[in-house]
Every structure is written in structure tokens, then in C-alpha cells.
Symmetry: C2
Subunit: 243 residues, 2 copies
């Protein structure tokens, strides 16, 4: 039997488009922010319909790889390579308390591990960067009295980045939206984030002292305070629901 003849690829048009496009991005070394060819150009060059190009780009848009601006063009939003892995995380009922707790549990796991790894691996440059973010955060905290979500986030991001493992930052980045949803929306807890404030400095101290277990411990304390705030907020909500 001539078995392995043509399992020919009649379908997978848009997949082929994405592969070609990924190759193009790689060849031209395009980075985030740069503009891709127009849909019409792509359709012509790849010898497919513009509709097919659109479906392919829609997929990338859904994955957050690309941003389309009507009248302007399509722009890269993230680094894209031909061999990357896409795995959309889905959380049913992401707006409720349970959803937030889910993300917080992930954060606890990753934050503790990242802080420990960071304490082991961070070099002088990384340490300086983290301390810079910490100073900025503390300054913002003093001036605006607690509302320092953006600066706080950058501090944690710096730790993830200095962990030496890019996956930490990528996973946490996927959940950035969700974290910020309740960060911006304090759930009625007026001093949200106040309790976690001192632990930022203690985490940094442990990292600077290359004390992995200390860093892990302080990170866990920080998450625990956030968790408490969240629970208090949920209690408040429940209370005001039955008003």
C-alpha cells in the first residue's frame, strides 16, 4: 500500500496566512508598535481574499498580538515569533468575588516564587531598577495617600522581570487586566492597599540581601493583606446589597 501519499492541506487558509505573516514579521524584525502591511496588500501578495486576511488578523487581534485602527492601519502590539504558543485563559464570571480570588491565588503562587528566584539571581542593575520603582511607588503613596496602583504594579513587574524567567511576567501580564479591575475599583474599601504597603520595602530588603526564603515569606504576607482587603470589600458589598 502506498500509504503516506497526500494528506494534502486543502484547508487551513488563514493559518497559512498567519504563518506567512509571522515569518514576514521575523524577517523584517518588526517589533511592538510597528505597522504591518495593509490588508489589501497582504491579500494581493499572499494571493488570498482580503476576507481571509481579515479572519487571520481577527484571530491575532483576539490574542492581543495586534491592534487595528480604522483609517490608520494594523499595528503589532507584542513580540511575535513563528513558534510561539497561544493559550487563552478563560474565567467564567470574571466580575465577581470568586473570580478575583482565583487570580489572587495564581498571583500568590507566582509572586512568592518570583521573589525567591529574584533574591537568588538579581544582579546589581536589576536591584537598582527594583529599588527605583520602589522609591517611585513610596513617593506616590505619600503624595496621593494610597492610590498608587500604577506605580505599585511597576514595582512587582520589575521583580518578575528580574526573576530571570520571562514566563512569570508573561503569565502575570495576561492577568493584568483583572488585577487592575479591582485595584481601580476598591470595592468600597477606602484604604485599599494601605495594609500591603510596608511589605514592598521588606520584600525588596530580602531580595537585596539575597535571602530567597525571606523574600518568599514577605511576598506571601503582602498577598495575604490584599486577600484580607478583598474579603473586607466583599463583605461590604454584601452588606450594601441588602441595604
Amino acid at each position: 500500500m502506498t500509504d503516506s501519499l497526500p494528506p494534502i492541506q486543502t484547508t487551513a487558509r488563514d493559518d497559512a496566512v498567519l504563518k506567512a505573516l509571522a515569518g514576514f514579521v521575523r524577517q523584517e524584525s518588526l517589533g511592538p508598535g510597528e505597522k504591518l502591511p495593509t490588508e489589501r496588500i497582504l491579500a494581493e501578495r499572499l494571493k488570498v481574499s482580503r476576507n481571509t486576511v481579515r479572519e487571520a488578523l481577527t484571530r491575532w487581534e483576539g490574542l492581543g498580538l495586534v491592534e487595528r485602527r480604522q483609517g490608520s492601519g494594523t499595528y503589532l502590539k507584542a513580540a511575535v515569533s513563528p513558534d510561539m504558543l497561544h493559550m487563552p485563559l478563560t474565567l467564567a464570571g470574571g466580575n465577581d468575588f470568586a473570580g478575583l480570588m482565583c487570580t489572587l491565588e495564581i498571583r500568590r503562587a507566582l509572586e512568592a516564587e518570583a521573589a525567591a528566584l529574584c533574591a537568588i539571581r538579581a544582579g546589581k542593575a536589576e536591584l537598582a531598577e527594583i529599588e527605583r520603582k520602589l522609591d517611585i511607588m513610596e513617593e506616590a503613596f505619600r503624595t496621593r495617600d494610597g492610590m498608587s496602583s500604577e506605580e505599585d504594579w511597576e514595582f512587582h513587574q520589575a521583580i518578575f522581570r528580574a526573576s530571570g524567567n520571562p514566563l512569570f511576567e508573561q503569565i502575570i501580564a495576561a492577568m493584568y487586566e483583572l488585577f487592575h479591575r479591582f485595584w481601580e475599583h476598591p470595592l468600597g474599601v477606602r484604604d485599599f492597599g494601605h495594609a500591603s504597603f510596608p511589605y514592598h520595602r521588606t520584600i525588596f530588603d530580602c531580595i537585596a540581601a539575597h535571602d530567597p526564603e525571606g523574600a518568599r515569606r514577605e511576598a506571601l504576607k503582602l498577598i495575604a493583606t490584599v486577600e484580607d482587603d478583598l474579603k473586607r470589600g466583599a463583605a461590604n458589598l454584601k452588606l450594601s446589597d441588602r441595604k
Copy 2:
């Protein structure tokens, strides 16, 4: 400065389609496996072009919520609710040893946390399911002498599923994908996985005894042995490179 001026929302055709469709699914209580209306029907009912419907469905397909079968129809692949949250996770896949170690670090963080949560939350049904997978794995280990990666995976998956947090399973599934990309080459370590074998049972025992910290400790031991195996494999590789 009036900073907080959100961009106004003029158009959102396909988003509206998805919202309507999510509402439809909810109203009809459709579950996974069930068939949605035809693209043509949807286009007609929603008073939009079939093209727009397709773009919307393409997005859902990319999110893994839906499966399209040419000639047959479009089927639900997962539960879908109007208020779910999507976090596209894209991982730059490194096919080298370093990339593998990165996935292992994530696994260490998540596996330990999931085992601890599981020890707290797992009910009788979940415990029975985990033990079933464990038995299957041990049996496969005895018969085929070590090559039980599939069964091994299912055991861990059962733990993640019983952690009560769906994000654990989803993220770790992404890690598994990355893992398997490298898995084609056995690394030259013949008894890979042997060292980690006993810890599966000890993890389960701690979970069954509702001992979170014990479960965490055993999970960490397991990952440590895998890490060792991996490092030995890398050493072997380096050795054979210079043959």
C-alpha cells in the same frame, strides 16, 4: 488636566454579535457539544452581514469556545456565559534547555500552591478521582517500567482540577504544551521520571489527610527530582555533543 476621558465607543459590530450570541446561549441553556444556529441564520436574525458573524465566531474559535465543522455546523466547546473574562496568554517558546527550566519553575510555583489548596478543598469525590489516576499511573509505571508520562500527567491534572481554581489547570496546560515540544528528544536519561515516582503517592497522602503544608512540601520534592533529572539530561547532551 482632565485626564480620565475614556475613548468613546462608536462601533462594535462583532462585539455586539458575540454579546447577543452569549445571551442566546444562556437563554437556550446550551452546553458544550450542542450546536449553534447557522451562520446564515445568525446573519439574518441579527441583521448583520454573514461576514460580520464570521469574524465574531472566529474570535470565539480562537478562544477555544467554539468549534466549526465544515458541512456540519458550529458547536459549543466550552461553557459560555455573557460575563466571562478572557486573558490571552502567549508564551514565547524557547525550545532549548533554558526554556524547559523556565516551565519547570512555573510548575514548581503552581504545583506547590495547587497541592496545598487541594489539600484544603478537595472533597470525597475529588479525592477518589485523584486516587484513581494515581492507581492507573502506578500500574502503568510497574508494567511499562517508567514510561508513564501520559498517566503521570493525568494525575497532576486531577490535582489541579480539584484545587477549586480553574486557572491552575489552564496555565499548567500551557506549560505542558511547551514541555512536550521539547519532549521529542528523550535527553538520554533512560530512567527519567523514576526518582519522582514515590512522591506522587506521598502528595496524595497529604492531600487525603488535608495537610496543606505537607502536600506543598512533597510537591516541591517531586519537582526537585524532575529538575535533577533534567540537569543530568542536559549534562549528557553536552557530553554527547562533543563526541
